[in-house]
Amino acid sequence: MTFLSLPFVVLFTCCLILFYSVKSNYQKIVLLLGSCVFVGYFNIAYLIIAALISAITFYWGRWIGAQKGENKRKRVFVGGILFLVLFLVSFKYINFIGENIAVLLGWFGIDWKGAITSVFFPLGISFYTFQALGYLIDVYWEEEEPERSLPDFMLYMLFFMKFLSGPIERAFDMLPQLKLEKRFDYDTVTYGLKLVLIGLMKKVIIADRLGPHLDTIFASVHDASGAQLLIAGLLYPIELYADFSGYTDMAIGGAMMFGYKLSPNFNRPFVAKTITDFWRRWHMSLSFWVRDYLYQPIAASKRYWGQWGIIYALVVTFIILGIWHGAGWNYVIYGLIQGLVISYEMLTVAYRNKVENRVGKSVFGVYSILRTYLLFAFSLLFFRISSLPEVGYMIRNLSFHVNSSFKELRLGMSDHECIVAGIAVVMLFVYEYFMSKKDLIKELGQCRKVVRWSIYYLFVILVFLFGQFGSEDFIYLQF
């Protein structure tokens, strides 16, 4: 049951009608039940595991809060963190660890078949485990009082609009919202609905149009020409962005229809002039999480190492960010690239400023945006292709060479599809540019009725006319 499936639309609509029909005391029960149905619909075991982890985290937070001495608090806190990390490792990384132990033992002549295997992979595990870890850390750091209401905490962990792929919410942002009564507010509900429509357009017009063609190239890199590999590598960041930011818009918009504000996840990442800046704009709820709970503590503890302490903290943090996405050396390398590039950027600030002054701000700005995009696109090859030899092959064969004709560059898309995708991407960037200046959705709500409704109908027609339906999956569901 993903956002684009009929069962979800039915569940969402029923929840929304019930939510605003029942007394305020029962509103959260409606959402909690809706969330349980949503998670349990995939597999009842996913629901049992997520609910257990949520309840354990709730009581563990209270246990930390109840400790008097610092040593005792620390012991209970470390126990909680270890429990959650072991939980995540046992479901997500155990096969990877088993395979690597087998390889290591093989070097010493020991034949070990890697008997450790995980039974299955609960959906949303990386997102809700990080949320639980952040909560326990906040309680331990006394940034957050231990939550008193179990139903509120369960809803904070399981809320169906963010359960599968985030945003990773902080307790201090979301829990206070859950304490408030929600009344139907036409402007907020319709704003949320418009955001859902924008997200839907990103997903079905751009991501799902590019997706199948890029999947074909990435699935058989040996059959593609150098130019096709190059085009696929250059387009993948756009597909991923349209898919994930489309999902996020739907999540934020859907939550807003219930009166809840979720954290933003993207802020025009492709205008970033450095990879450092890029990570302040891309998957922000994850990058700010690792900044606050991993990078800052590591950098603070290694601050007497000078620059090396910061580089160490960056590399460790980004490797963990990489491996958060999945159990594989490709994700380690993906994270390592980010950490090394950010370290390089930190060490060369003065040099880059000097070059900028020499060549001019605008020329250097354009160069920096292109350089950042290309670096990210390069790193994403490790994110997209799990086999390292295949990534190596792709990198070695990136070129302008075509096997037969330049028509190959369309990656199997028809002229019509290329034009639709191209215009949609340009429109997306134009929309985001103006959205950064003023809130277009709010402005639209203030237009005359005839203009407003003409635009709504136009958008709906665009979705049905140019949208690619059939795929319900989102790329980040696998994490």
């Binding site: 503890s301 302490g309 950010i342």
Partner: protein, 80 residues
């Protein structure tokens, strides 16, 4: 040691580390208000401050600083 005196000394440290002579800090100043003060330069500022005052901040203390006022209060308490 008065907070205003600490603020003046911090101005000098911040200007030197962030290479920006226009920085003037107040108690309510946060990283968002100062160009170049981000998670990458924060630890360099912290170590420079520790060195200047010959003090040492605790790990949780560093992570809990919300603004320059918190930083000044901590320096003041350690220099008493």
């Amino acid at each position: 040691m008065e907070i205003d005196d600490i603020l003046k000394e911090l101005d000098t440290i911040f200007r030197e580390i962030l290479k920006n002579d226009t920085i003037t800090l107040g108690r309510e100043t946060t990283a968002k208000d100062v160009d170049g003060w981000d998670s990458l330069t924060n630890m360099r500022l912290i170590t420079a401050i520790e060195k200047y005052y010959d003090i040492r901040f605790g790990l949780r203390e560093i992570l809990k600083f919300k603004n320059v006022g918190d930083l000044c209060a901590s320096i003041q308490a350690k220099k008493k």
